[in-house]
């Protein structure tokens, strides 16, 4: 009964490839997020969706394209992968987009681009 699940857990690929990471939450939350954690553990918001609508789109290369088919799913597609994309990507959800709504994180996807 995992709350926020991401697949795959590990992803190793070569530069120039296109890859996707999937995320699903069974908490009934309205809002979902993608965060990137770099090698120094710094967490940075990438995108946020509320009820399938994009509400946060930080300064992220347009090679990154999120898709939310329904409010329980938020996938991340990355085109033309670069070395600098290597990081751990975390999906998260929260009950709402309101301030103070706590985040529930998945276990992350470690992406390594060679």
């Amino acid at each position: 009964d995992t709350a926020v699940s991401q697949t795959p857990k590990y992803l190793v690929t070569q530069m120039g490839n296109d890859k996707s990471i999937k995320c699903e939450q069974n908490l009934g939350h309205d809002t979902m997020y993608w965060y990137k954690q770099d090698s120094k553990k710094f967490l940075k918001i990438m995108f946020s969706y509320n009820n399938k609508e994009l509400i946060i789109n930080e300064t992220v290369p347009n090679r990154f394209s999120p898709k939310s088919p329904d409010k329980a799913h938020l996938n991340l597609h990355i085109n033309s992968l670069e070395l600098g994309d290597s990081a751990v990507y975390f999906c998260a959800s929260s009950p709402s987009q309101a301030s103070g709504s706590p985040l529930h994180f998945g276990n992350g996807t470690r992406l390594t681009v060679t």
Partner: protein, 115 residues
């Protein structure tokens, strides 16, 4: 824009000793403050949060944090550390922006517990 500073990158404590992890924030209004813990290979888990009211908040796993507006701080404490507390700890501040929440994380403090 809000920001969060965790001045200690790495802290080592002995098992059974007390712990205090520092967090300072910068935000114009009353912030929403959080502490999260990340164990190796895992996602972040919420320890506690502060919105308003009592400035001393209790969390899970025996942790507590105190909000001090005058010092712009929200330090995390635990009276007696267990070996299982070894992890990375993140302070975060949330604010409302255009009707939605934007959460900014600190750079984390890695806690090592020695026997």
């Amino acid at each position: 824009a809000q920001s969060v500073t965790q001045p200690d990158i790495h802290i080592t404590v002995s098992e059974g000793a007390s712990l205090e992890l520092r967090c300072n924030y910068s935000y114009g209004a009353t912030p929403y403050l959080f502490w999260y813990v990340q164990s190796p290979g895992q996602g972040l888990q919420l320890l506690l949060k502060y919105f308003s009211g009592d400035t001393l908040v209790q969390g899970i796993k025996g942790f507590e944090a105190e909000f001090k507006r005058s010092q712009s701080s929200f330090n995390l404490r635990k009276p007696s550390v267990h070996w299982s507390d070894a992890a990375e700890y993140f302070c975060a501040v949330g604010r409302s922006s255009g009707g939605y929440q934007k959460v900014t994380f600190g750079t984390g403090t890695k806690l090592q517990v020695i026997p």
